[in-house]
Every structure is written in structure tokens, then in C-alpha cells.
């Protein structure tokens, strides 16, 4: 029985771990309960996805995600919002909502410096009306974070973030695998409430 006991001990506390990299992906969304998501809006998207790097100085030029991944993120956002009959417009055409997609590859909080966005959309701070966004952290992970802001609801120099969506996973796999996971996970994010009722 002693060898059996030792074998059991060696099996460890957490057997049957996930086998595939996709099984480590997680999608998280949160939204303002006070914002009406049941009507259609115009929205704007930047042309690139911001790469957030905590080593970047405030005066450094912005960095962006590799184009193949950035295009996958932007196209997936467009596809899902357009499927809700929302309309993409230029950022100078007074959009109802401005979508801010970003990505980072290390431990990072949601509440990163809004100054990152001044190349496209400059506000001193974000506000999260009626809800508290969680935080993402990890090791050797990648995170895509989408923030949907309402420029018409600015109060006290804070722009309301009415919806956040993120997905987090391991930075492993081929380019096609990662693009496929971006598409699947963003589709999943837009199937969560409040978009699931539209």
C-alpha cells in the first residue's frame, strides 16, 4: 500500500489539466446597466490595435499589434457590431461610440494610463458607470481588451466606458491558430449580455 500512497501523492493536487492551448482561453465581458444596448449606434474604430507596454514612456510614440493579429481583431469587432445593425463611421463624423481595442502580453491592470490613447482619442480618464471592471493578469499570456466609450456622456473629464470585453489566453500556437482563437473568442464576447438580446 505504501507504493500506492506515494503514487497518489505524486499525482499532485490538480490532475487532469487542460491538454490544448485553446482550453486556456477565457472571455470576460462587463457593461454599464444604465446604457441602452437595445438600439443601434454609430461607432468608430482606429486603424490599428494599440499594444500596451508598461515600459513605454508618456512621450514615446504608440506601438501597435502585428498587423495580421490587429486586422483579425478589428475585422471581428466590425463583423459583430455590424451584425447588430450598428454602423461604422469615421472618428471625425461624431460617432455615438468609440471602440478602443488594445492588447498586452504580460500582467497588466485594466486601469492603464489613458494617455496611451492620445494618438487617437484623448481623455484624461475613464469612468465605469454602474459597474466595476475586473482585472486581468497572467504569465506568458496574451490579452485583448476592448473598451466601448461614450463620448457624448463625458462627465468631469472622464469618458464613460459602457462596455468592456477581453479575452485572455496562452501566447502559443501558429499564426493561423492565434487568428482563429481571436475570431472565436471575440464572437463569444459579443454573444454575452447585453448583446445576446439584440
Amino acid at each position: 500500500m505504501f507504493p500506492l500512497a506515494l503514487l497518489l501523492l505524486n499525482m499532485g493536487c490538480y490532475p487532469d489539466q487542460p491538454e490544448y492551448v485553446e482550453e486556456y482561453d477565457a472571455v470576460y465581458t462587463n457593461y454599464s446597466p444604465d446604457f441602452n444596448f437595445s438600439v443601434t449606434y454609430t461607432y468608430s474604430l482606429p486603424e490599428q490595435v494599440l499594444l500596451v507596454d508598461d515600459k513605454r514612456g508618456p512621450d514615446d510614440p504608440p506601438e501597435f499589434v502585428d498587423q495580421v493579429y490587429g486586422d483579425a481583431i478589428l475585422n471581428s469587432i466590425r463583423k459583430n457590431l455590424n451584425a447588430n445593425n450598428w454602423t461604422e463611421v469615421d472618428e471625425n463624423a461624431d460617432p455615438d461610440l468609440v471602440i478602443l481595442p488594445s492588447a498586452f502580453d504580460k500582467t497588466f491592470l485594466y486601469f492603464y494610463d489613458p494617455g496611451y490613447w492620445c494618438w487617437y482619442y484623448c481623455y484624461p480618464g475613464w469612468g465605469y458607470p454602474g459597474y466595476s471592471p475586473g482585472y486581468v493578469s497572467g504569465y506568458r499570456t496574451g490579452t485583448v481588451l476592448l473598451q466601448m466609450t461614450d463620448p457624448n456622456g463625458v462627465q468631469a473629464n472622464e469618458v464613460p466606458v459602457v462596455w468592456t470585453g477581453s479575452f485572455n489566453g496562452l501566447l502559443q500556437g501558429s499564426e493561423a491558430n492565434i487568428v482563429g482563437r481571436i475570431n472565436r473568442n471575440l464572437d463569444q464576447a459579443f454573444s454575452h449580455p447585453p448583446f445576446d438580446n439584440n
Binding site: 493536487c13 487532469d16 485553446e22 462587463n30 459597474y131 449580455p193
Partner: protein
């Protein structure tokens, strides 16, 4: 200093146990989730071990100590959960590591053959560590809830002071410390030896 304590404890333990009959049991434990445990785990736990000590005050009555380790794990597949305005989706893996510590009282029914049925009641605490993984995110809860464990079993003598043991146990575990009531049945088989 630590080795002195260990040596003294072992000397005390063996000298104490040499004055009266005592038994040790090492058993393999298979766990079956019940109640709120079955809400988190659909699968049988095939990973478990139990270590028991019984000191006989009388021929039929023993007091003792019991500990062990039972590991439940389950792959619940792709799960989407919504709480208020928050929703999370991902592959869900749940894990429970349960390590009980019981003071026990046993009654051994009088028999003439080699088979000795018994009933044991254990009362104590369980160290429970529950992990719910969604992707790379883990929600972990730990605690020391109160637990009661009734047990029915039988020892079958196969040699001098050596027996086989089979037992059925119900581990009632109270809720608390952010943990639900994580109760389960177990079937234990193993060896008993004593003096």
C-alpha cells in the same frame, strides 16, 4: 530540537501502544460526490488514501485518529456564467483537495470468526481547497469546515495481527469560509495491522 520532539513523540507513541491493543489501517479511498459536491464534480474520485489509528480501551471499543487525502477533479467543458453585468466563458476545470482530521470512536461487534464488523464515528475538521479554473483564471477557496464521518466496515483477518479492511464512509462537511458543503461518500479498501 525538532528531532528531539519527533523522537520523544515516537517513543511515547510506541510505548503507549505496547500496553494495549492498537491498530493501524492504510486504505485506498474512492470518493463519490453528493449534494453540493456533485454540483461541482460529476466524476468519481479515484484518488484517495486514508490513514487510521485505533487504540482499544476495551475489547469492543476503541478511540483513535484518522486522516487522509481525497482529490476530486472534473472537466466541465465549455461553460458560460453570468453574474449581474459580468459574464465569463471558457473551459472549466474544477479541483477539490480534501484532507480530513478526525478524532474517532469505534465499536467492534462480537464475532467468532475471522470477520470483525465495526462502526466508527469521526468528528473533526477538514482542510478543503476548492479551485474553479476558467481558462487561465482561477477562483480558489480554502477553509477548515467542521465535519462528521459515520463509517461501517469489516476487518477480515488474514494472518497474525494482519487483516483486510473494507468500509463505507459518509463525509458530512459543513459549509463555511466561502466554501459550500462539500460532502461525499467513500468506499475504502486496504490493510490493517496491530499488536
Amino acid at each position: 530540537m525538532r528531532s528531539i520532539y519527533i523522537t520523544a513523540s515516537l517513543l511515547l507513541f510506541f510505548s503507549f501502544s505496547s500496553f494495549a491493543q492498537s491498530k493501524f489501517a492504510l486504505t485506498y479511498s474512492v470518493g463519490f460526490p453528493t449534494g453540493e459536491t456533485s454540483d461541482l464534480f460529476n466524476s468519481t474520485s479515484w484518488r484517495g488514501v486514508s490513514l487510521d489509528y485505533q487504540y482499544f480501551i476495551e475489547d469492543e471499543f476503541a478511540i483513535g485518529f484518522s486522516t487522509g487525502w481525497q482529490v476530486f477533479s472534473d472537466n466541465l467543458g465549455y461553460v458560460t456564467e453570468t453574474s449581474g453585468t459580468e459574464t465569463i466563458s471558457g473551459y472549466r476545470y474544477n479541483y477539490l483537495n480534501s484532507i480530513p482530521f478526525y478524532a474517532t470512536a469505534s465499536y467492534v461487534f462480537k464475532t467468532t470468526g475471522d470477520a470483525h464488523p465495526y462502526a466508527t464515528l469521526g468528528i473533526g475538521l477538514v482542510y478543503n481547497e476548492l479551485a474553479e479554473d476558467t481558462g487561465l483564471f482561477r477562483i480558489e477557496s480554502k477553509g477548515w469546515p467542521f465535519s462528521v464521518r459515520p463509517e461501517l466496515g469489516m476487518d477480515y483477518e488474514i494472518g497474525y495481527n494482519v487483516a483486510l479492511r473494507g468500509a463505507v464512509r459518509y463525509h458530512y462537511v459543513a459549509s463555511g469560509s466561502d466554501l459550500p458543503s462539500l460532502s461525499y461518500f467513500s468506499v475504502n479498501v486496504g490493510f490493517v495491522w496491530g499488536n
